[in-house]
């Protein structure tokens, strides 16, 4: 074995670490730590560093300990050298040193050390000094992480439970924290029910009674809440959020005790309090309390908006969730969500979303003024979302639709390419909501045809032309321009061109015989996309076999679209609300989608979150049948999830009334006879051009299809983040989604 080289930095350091001068040694240790920080391997110096552990200099001791934490794992045999000092330090008269010793010892992750830890730890858990006790409490969680059996064996968990009743609030807080940590660790340890391996008897035993919050504990926690540090309060609040009670009086008591925390300066305490209240408010019955709870919740939430941008963002994402659950809480506060010019983009986008949520007839004028202003800013993404928000306002508030449209027309006049394109896309949705109200603007839109180079914008304009073909004199000419470049267009544009021309033909059969021939030819012969070809064939056969049926199929009246109240399905919303301020509630998707070993695929997610609802497949089928829902992809799952079952029939009913509005009785009857097919067709023609973004996609297959042909548009007001979150599309997309984010 070669002797270590007698030069180089490590050799030098070794010399210094063994120097007889205290200063030199202290200096060397600092250099070792510095080297370690920048990623150099310093494990070779282990024995030399450990020699410096026995010292009166607290700072030096801390550095040696820091070194040990980093390298103990790599040198398990040598760690034993340090044990003596640790054990001695753990009984030092200075409480800071006692705490330091067990704090460090418990994270060394070496079996040998752990065996020596048991008795100092039991002693420190009962130390007279609260600082030592609070440190020791957390140590139990650390030990549990490494060796759960040991915690049981020595009754550490038991002791932790006793510490909840400690006189010192900080000790209480850390005991609670440690218990929660242990509780979760044990849940993770026990394999989930689906796993094939049986859980070891030990972990099963652990799994049970680790952390019970009973009435007595609750009382202690509520007392400690008002006395401990901000971080302790957060720990206690998260524990209170996990406590479930159906007892009215108890729930009211909890709410009353937690409410004052709204005034705390720490945003996490405020959100923690909101979380607890949102959970226990369900059982509150006293009217005055209910009123004062909702009333007092609003101001602190608004105040969070003047915090640091990152905190603001977390708050905004959570406010967005809260508004989905209780839209009334911030009803009068839209102004505070106005974007500042220098807000970071992620904050602006969230604010936009919330502003639309809070829009009402009363404040829509101010909102429109703001949105128009935002549309002239430089950040393209933000500008587009602002334009989109105008459309959402139009769809949400009928009485303001006209003003929204006129703002959109003003924006089109700016002739800024991306503004115009976005405006066209948005106007299409306005038409889908108010089919016959704004036909007057169609010529202006058509005049901008040359400006549109993005598929989605082109698709939108083509859809509008097709839909109003009978009112546009030169519709055939306009559609002809798209047909000329048919082969170069994206599939979404091809599909829409096809449908629009067929619509044109059905509306004006005399003038458009030629063009419909051309498009069917092009789509069946020159196109290699299965969707385009198949749809072309369907149209072709439909047109050649029964033009009346074709008319009722293609030109059927579709129900107007709606802006969803929620972007998250109710079951998930409930779960996220009970986790307010957590990562899950920031992302608006259940934690299981982004953490844990086996991040769940879309299918499993559906199963776990909605066990009580229909299975995915059934829902998917229903979706296909219920054309109505397909049109309303937007508000899937919005209000009555159970209504899905009856929708197949409902769709039929609404269709027959709808078509009688269109024209003749004959068509109406034809419509009835061909109903299922009709619905299906409709589904595709609309899904392909708009909004396939059902957040939770029971019709996963359908959605996949829609996605493959057009970039997913999200009309739902949650633009930045992957709204398609919980179920996403294919399970494999999970990582990408996260990456995107």
């Amino acid at each position: 074995m070669a002797a270590p080289p007698r030069k180089g930095e490590n050799w030098e350091l070794r010399q210094q670490l063994n120097s007889e001068y205290r200063d030199k040694r202290a200096d060397a240790i600092k250099r070792v730590i510095a080297n370690h920080t920048i990623g150099k391997d310093c494990s070779g110096l282990f024995p030399d560093v450990v020699k410096n552990m026995q010292t009166d200099d607290l700072e030096q001791k801390k550095l040696v300990y820091l070194y040990l934490m980093n390298y103990a794992k790599t040198q398990p045999e040598l760690v034993i050298l340090a044990v003596n000092t640790f054990v001695k330090d753990a009984a030092d008269p200075n409480p800071l040193i006692r705490a330091l010793a067990i704090r460090t010892m418990s994270v060394l992750r070496a079996d040998k050390i752990l065996n020596y830890l048991a008795s100092p730890l039991s002693r420190c858990l009962k130390d007279e000094n609260p600082y030592v006790r609070k440190t020791a409490a957390l140590c139990v969680a650390k030990v549990f992480d490494l060796k759960p059996d040991m915690c049981i064996e020595y009754g550490f968990v038991e002791t932790l439970r006793d510490l909840i009743g400690d006189g010192n609030p900080m000790v209480v807080a850390n005991a609670v924290t440690a218990l929660a940590d242990i509780h979760e660790a044990s849940l993770n340890m026990a394999p989930p029910e689906s796993s094939p391996e049986g859980s070891s008897p030990n972990s099963a035993r652990l799994n049970n009674q680790l952390f019970i919050i009973d009435h007595a504990t609750l009382a202690k926690l509520l007392v400690a809440l008002n006395e401990c540090s901000e971080w302790g309060r957060i720990a206690i609040l998260s524990t209170l959020a996990r406590y479930r009670t159906t007892d009215v009086e108890e729930a009211e008591h909890i709410c009353e005790r937690v409410m004052p925390q709204f005034q705390h300066a720490n945003a996490a305490v405020v959100l923690g309090a909101v979380k607890v209240i949102m959970i226990h408010i369900k059982n509150v019955q006293r009217e005055d309390l209910l009123k004062s709870l909702t009333r007092k919740m609003a101001p602190p939430l608004v105040t969070l908006i003047s915090q640091a941008p990152e905190v603001q963002w977390v708050a905004l994402r959570n406010i967005n969730l809260l508004l989905q659950k209780r839209p009334e809480i911030l009803a009068n506060e839209m102004r505070v969500f106005f974007c500042k010019y220098n807000d970071p983009p992620y904050v602006k986008v969230e604010k936009l979303d919330i502003m639309v949520r809070l829009a009402t007839e009363r404040n829509v004028d101010i909102l429109l003024g703001e949105l128009k202003e935002y549309a002239s800013e430089v950040d393209v993404d933000f500008v587009r979302k602002s334009v989109r928000a105008i459309g959402q306002a139009a769809i949400k508030i009928e009485s303001a639709a006209e003003r929204c449209v006129s703002v959109l027309m003003d924006l089109i006049e700016t002739r800024v390419s991306y503004v115009v394109q976005e405006a066209v896309i948005v106007i299409k949705d306005v038409f889908r909501k108010y089919p016959h109200s704004y036909e007057g603007i169609i010529p202006t839109l058509c005049a901008n045809l040359d400006e549109l180079d993005e598929p989605e914008a082109r698709v939108s304009l083509i859809w509008i032309i097709g839909e109003y073909a009978e009112k546009i004199e030169n519709a055939d000419e306009l559609l002809g321009t798209f047909l000329d470049t048919f082969k170069e267009e994206s599939y979404a544009v091809q599909l829409q061109t096809l449908t629009a021309i067929v619509k044109l033909f059905l509306k004006k059969p005399d003038q458009s015989q030629g063009i419909v021939q051309r498009v069917l030819q092009a789509a069946t012969k020159d196109c290699d996309n299965a969707d385009v070809r198949d749809r072309a064939y369907i149209y072709w056969r439909l047109l050649s076999s029964d033009p009346a049926a074709a008319k009722s199929v293609v030109l059927a009246v579709r129900p107007p679209i709606n802006l969803p109240q929620r972007t998250v399905p109710p079951a998930i919303l409930e779960e996220l609300i009970s986790e307010i301020s957590s990562l899950a509630s920031v992302y608006h998707k259940p934690a299981a989608t982004f953490i844990g070993k086996g991040r769940l695929g879309a299918e499993e997610m559906k199963r776990t979150v909605e066990p009580e609802e229909d299975t995915a497949r059934e829902r998917a089928l229903q979706t296909v049948v219920a054309g109505q829902q397909a049109e309303n992809l937007l508000d899937f799952d919005a209000d009555e999830p159970e209504s899905g079952a009856s929708d197949g029939l409902a769709g039929l009913g609404s269709l027959s009334t709808g078509s009688s509005v269109i024209s003749s009785q004959a068509i109406a009857s034809a419509a009835k006879s061909t109903n299922p097919l009709d619905e299906l067709m409709d589904l595709f023609s609309t899904a392909s051009m708009a909004t396939p973004a059902a957040p939770l996609a029971p019709g996963a297959g359908l959605e996949g299809l829609a996605n493959s042909v057009s970039p997913p548009t999200t009309l739902s007001p949650s633009p930045a983040t992957p709204t398609a979150a919980p179920a996403a599309t294919a399970g494999g997309a999970q990582d990408d989604l996260l990456g995107l984010f």
Binding site: N168, N208, S238, R242, T246, D247, P299, F594
Partner: protein
């Protein structure tokens, strides 16, 4: 009645960890080099540090302060030229993580002034020592600067002896019910200084309508008081929690929409009878933050006329009026007037102060070091633009106005009293100052 229930079959959701632990803490410079690295939990490898460098620091277009890659989430705050970063592998409490990162920044500032690459490098030992104290196993612990300073000091060895003597006392304080205060504070002269600092957020439309005007207020206190003083604090406030409620105007009362307190304030007491009572920490601290949205006195009015007579010229006439009492003064008034990106040259004339075109920021910066209440002045300027081919119109970012006005509160808030009771019954002297300022928050569209 007593509902003792097991957690585990209650929370479907807790099948997935939902606690709040931080697994690792890093500080990076802008090149992505690790300046500080501390792992708290075993679920991460050190190499995770590289992932962040690749995904975030070298990525120019970051649209979220949290990045989740796989099952690892990175929370970061960029400050000066360093990224302060926390990493978790669980469904962490996001608000807590950011609060912690910001608390770390505050603590660092108080220890070594500014938090930047240089100061991190020269204080890395201290930073590790602080981290060891303020966070344990990923859970934030005591972060009270005053307490920390009792036993973590920059002079190291010198203070160590002192620490040894006091350590029981320190530890009691660090965990006690008044963890923010030592019991044995003594001053010959007992004084308390109160600073009310208001930041005005104002947004005015092109047409001169006030779109939003509100005040973020902050009450800072410097308490140099002996013993364990019991303080009571009174404002001319009327905390409105129900806006539609009684409209009876209490004369001179200011409506606060919300307020937040330092942890020394007894929240329960405030909740029941609106009184602010507390035992203050020793030295400087933020007693309270508040927000007010009604009857804001805007200290400055700005009238703007901006024309673009031709494609390569912009003419500005900006008229500034100080709308506060003529006995008061505003200091350091800075008005930033945006110019188009293709501006070549600006000629500006001002009646007061100095105006200068700053090409790097695309602004005309008009500075007035001191202006008296009710004074008015005007800037006229003309910007010459280079010819460009882009047709897109200039987006006209808002004009920003920064200022500070002493002895003026935009909300009208006043301190009515500050009472100090201590068992020894000493007399104390109290001082109150007011300041209203804006810092990029006073914006006028044109």
């Amino acid at each position: 009645m007593a509902t003792a229930i097991h957690i585990d079959h209650l929370c479907l959701s807790s099948r997935h960890p939902s606690t709040r632990m931080i697994s690792a803490f890093f500080i990076y410079n802008t090149k992505g080099e690790v300046l500080i690295s501390r792992l708290f939990r075993s679920d991460l490898k050190r190499s995770i540090a590289d992932v962040f460098r690749i995904q975030v620091i070298s990525n120019a277009d970051i649209r979220s302060p949290i990045i989740t890659l796989g099952s690892t989430s990175f929370f970061h705050v960029k400050i000066n030229n360093v990224f302060v970063t926390a990493v978790t592998k669980c469904n962490a409490n996001a608000a807590l993580v950011f609060e912690f990162l910001y608390r770390f920044i505050t603590i660092s500032r108080s220890y070594f002034g500014k938090l930047d690459e240089e100061s991190v490098k020269s204080n890395f030992v201290l930073i590790y020592e602080l981290l060891d104290e303020i966070i344990d196993f990923g859970y934030p612990q005591n972060s009270e600067i005053d307490t920390l300073k009792m036993y973590i000091t920059t002079e190291g060895i010198k203070s160590e002896m002192a620490v040894r003597e006091d350590s029981s006392k320190i530890t009691i304080q660090a965990t006690g019910a008044t963890s923010w205060r030592r019991a044995d504070v003594k001053y010959r002269k007992n004084e308390a200084f109160v600073d009310v600092i208001e930041t005005v957020n104002m947004l005015m439309s092109k047409e001169g309508a006030v779109l939003r005007a509100d005040v973020d207020g902050q009450i800072l206190m410097r308490a140099y008081l002996s013993g364990m003083p019991e303080c009571k604090f009174g404002l001319n406030d009327k905390l409105v929690l129900d806006k539609r409620g009684d409209q009876a105007k209490t004369d001179g009362a200011v409506e606060l929409d919300d307020c937040q307190f330092h942890q020394c304030v007894r929240l329960g007491k405030f909740d029941s009878d609106r009184s602010i009572s507390f035992i203050p920490p020793d030295g400087e601290f933020e007693l309270m933050r508040y927000r007010s949205t009604s009857n804001i006195n805007l200290p400055f009015r700005l009238q703007t006329h901006v024309n673009e007579p031709t494609k390569n010229r912009v003419e500005y006439t900006i008229h500034l009026k100080a709308a506060f009492d003529s006995k008061l003064n505003a200091n350091n008034v800075v008005i930033r007037i945006p110019t188009p990106l293709n501006t070549v040259k600006v000629d500006a004339k001002v009646g007061m102060g100095k105006a200068k075109y700053v090409p790097g920021e695309n602004h005309i910066v008009w500075k007035i070091s001191r202006i008296q209440g009710m004074q008015e002045c005007t800037l006229t300027a003309e910007a010459n633009l280079a010819m460009t081919t882009t047709k897109q119109a200039w987006s006209r970012p808002p004009i920003e106005l920064d200022f500070s006005v002493v002895m003026f509160t935009a909300s009208g808030l006043l301190v009515r009293y500050l009472k100090v009771f201590e068992k020894s019954g000493y007399n104390s002297v109290k001082w109150v100052r007011f300041l209203t300022k804006a810092n990029g928050t006073y914006q006028i569209r044109f």
